[in-house]
Point group: C2
Chain length 436, copies 2
């Protein structure tokens, strides 16, 4: 069922639902309110460090206070909600996700992880359970790159990993720098600019993030929940230019052609065949050429295309695979350049390391899911997440995916509350009983 | 040597050079004057049925009168220059080409055929030779499609083969209809609109057109002159759309992808492989996908491309090859659609039949070239020419190509006068001694 069925729960105080521990009703109420707060006429807009994200933070903070939780803001302006444990000196078990969205995005991307934590904490509290470790729920700032051209701003700032130059990045609409926005949201901009870690890995026993799956795998496999094995790294070339030679399509025979479209098609088919073979060997990899264009100012049906621009991105859980495949790309381009008389010009590659989730956490979530009779599968995450920043900082982290149709970053996201609640069940078990 | 070396010949009366029979000097003078008449600051512009073409017609007509030829305009406003034969009742031997150009084009495309005819006639006259058949030189109107969106206007009108609807076609700059332009140039627009043939195939013993090669074959083979075996027909699809499914590049594994870029690359590589095999069997074919674009308003590096638009054109001297290859295109698209889960949407195909040059004429030109010790090869023409209209109307026709670098439809055309004169030698022999 979609989450937007008519509900009276939203009219109720979410706080009372939280106190009652009615998870599904609470989740619906929270999602409905978030949707109302940030509906833009088409989808959901919660701009990072801006009004939309701010309203979501205010709303969740207020509901958390009503539900009796300790609420604070950390020095990176992230929202922090805590359920104190019986041994408060010990590293905390953390959960959460981001509350911002892309323009005209969906209501669940990010918010599902915050709502999942909220529901889990509320049920633990309602059941009268006091966990050993303090459980901390984050509403993380600025995860989406849509607004300032860079992702994971809030979690990166938390671990002192935001490049000072990034503070100069301009908001896509207003042109004002990120620093101004962060400061207005209450962040300690001086500490962040200096690279001071505002939290240490040792403060955390774990970080477990719930997120909707942004692909079709769980829908295809008919499973409500996925256990994430890692976040794929990538190699990207935004612009590779293939230089051939233009000419009259009728007048130049095959052996005198330097056709850039056929050359790039040749490269892509060679890479596609490598991909197929690597998949058969169980090697994690995805390849995409999202941009492929002849020059609109010069191309024509009867003109042999002299130039093509294309992008190439490949992702993998394995650093080795990324490096090996990158060499393969260059080798195949060299071969095609020779055989077809063209030249490839590469821009600087953009690189992100893969972040693997520890085998202990994966096995632990497998075991908890089995005990709770939640059907799951293991799967990589293609898109990046705040959990990758926690992993990179040295925090033992895990991720739980919820089945979702139609991808993300669009208003057609479709997550059933029933699936969501199975994810919450798994999260709750993990928060109370984290991997050793 | 390029033709634009400093020359005093242009300052001389071309008429006196014509009378003297100095072919190379006459050719240089005529080309220089044509260039000066139609230089646009970048290249050559001689708009069809407009000022540029008109000036070229006036100039050639005036020079022909000075040289003592009979000059007239036919009912399609084509320029007609004649050297009367001793048996005037017999079908004429015709030559010529067009005098218009694309915007910012080169000086030789078209004009070379008129100048070649002019030089040949002048030398025959200067040598005091009276041919048996009247030799007729055409300055044909409106060959380039650049101005009214359709090619071969003057030759089509001549044979009553201009679609009346084409008379409504608008000039690319002024928006005025072709009919207005043709009428102003002196054409019998009523007869043309009615489809009345203004000339009959029986009036002609032959039509022999000299033209620069618009491809690199003669340069590559180091030959000054080519003997054309036919004008390739074509099948064109200006816009084929491949519909796949967009998605997050990181989140969708290979087996759930419907990647339109890879699908089209797959089709093109299959066609390229068929092309390679057909070439090895000696089958005439060229294939071009000149336009290939993901949607600029939606494509992105991290977005699996949901849609690609591409063009596809293939040309051949053989109607059978065109039809067979068209079926092959559809078969390969069907296979790829199934294996990659995409859909291809074809626009209506545009079709032009191949026009083969008769074996008699090809063999005759081979023999004449051998006698004159002109190195030649046989080759197809990719681009269309007025000769194809003469062929289509039933006139035994032939074509002679002159070596030319850098293609055509640009100011960088590079034809040496030495090569041109060898073409004129061959033309002259053919006009005096046409194939039986």
């Amino acid at each position: 069922m979609p989450d937007d069925r008519p509900t009276t729960a939203a009219q109720d105080s979410a706080g009372s639902l939280a106190r009652a521990g009615d998870g599904a009703a609470l989740a619906r109420a929270l999602f409905d309110s978030l949707r109302r707060l940030s509906f833009d006429g088409v989808g959901i807009t919660r701009a990072s460090y801006d009004a939309g994200e701010g309203a979501a933070h205010e709303f969740i903070a207020a509901e958390a206070r009503k539900a009796g939780f300790a609420v604070a803001r950390d020095r990176a302006a992230n929202l922090v909600i805590e359920l104190p444990g019986s041994e408060p000196g010990r590293p905390v078990v953390a959960t959460g996700s981001h509350l911002d969205s892309v323009p005209q995005g969906g209501n669940f991307d990010g918010a599902a992880g915050v709502v999942a934590g909220f529901v889990a904490l509320s049920r633990i509290k309602a059941a009268g359970i006091t966990p050993r470790r303090t459980i901390r729920l984050y509403g993380i700032r600025g995860e989406e790159s849509a607004w300032f051209g860079k992702a994971y701003l809030g979690s990166s700032a938390l671990f002192g990993r935001l490049d000072p130059l990034d503070l100069e990045r301009r908001h896509r609409d207003t042109g004002k720098p990120l620093a101004t926005y962060m400061e207005a949201a209450g962040a300690d901009i001086v500490a962040i600019a200096s690279g001071e870690p505002l939290a240490r890995a040792e403060d955390f026993a774990a970080f477990v993030e719930v997120h909707i799956e942004q692909g079709p795998v769980l829908v295809d496999r008919a499973l409500p929940v996925g256990i994430v094995t890692g976040i794929r790294g990538y190699v990207r070339h935004l612009k590779i230019v293939c230089h051939g030679e233009a000419g009259h399509s009728g007048a130049i025979p095959r052996w005198l052609r330097h056709d850039s479209v056929l050359a790039v098609a040749d490269v892509l088919m060679r890479l596609d065949e490598h991909w197929r073979v690597l998949m058969e060997r169980g090697i994690d990899l995805v390849i995409t050429s999202g941009i492929f264009t002849t020059d609109p100012s010069r191309h024509a049906m009867s003109r042999i295309p002299g130039e093509v621009e294309f992008s190439l991105e490949f992702r993998s859980l394995s650093l080795d695979t990324l490096e090996t495949f990158h060499r393969l790309v260059q080798t195949e381009c060299d071969v095609v350049a020779k055989t077809r008389g063209v030249r490839f010009e590469f821009d600087r590659r953009v690189f992100a390391v893969p972040e693997r989730i520890g085998e202990r956490w994966i096995e632990h979530l497998d075991a908890l899911a089995k005990r709770l009779e939640i059907p799951t599968c293991r799967m990589p995450s293609g898109p990046g997440h705040d959990a990758a920043i926690f992993l990179g900082a040295g925090v033992p982290s895990a991720m739980i995916f919820i089945r979702n149709a139609h991808g993300s970053h669009n208003p057609r996201e479709a997550m059933a509350i029933e699936d969501f609640m199975r994810g919450v069940d798994l999260l709750q078990a993990a928060l109370l009983d984290p991997a050793a």
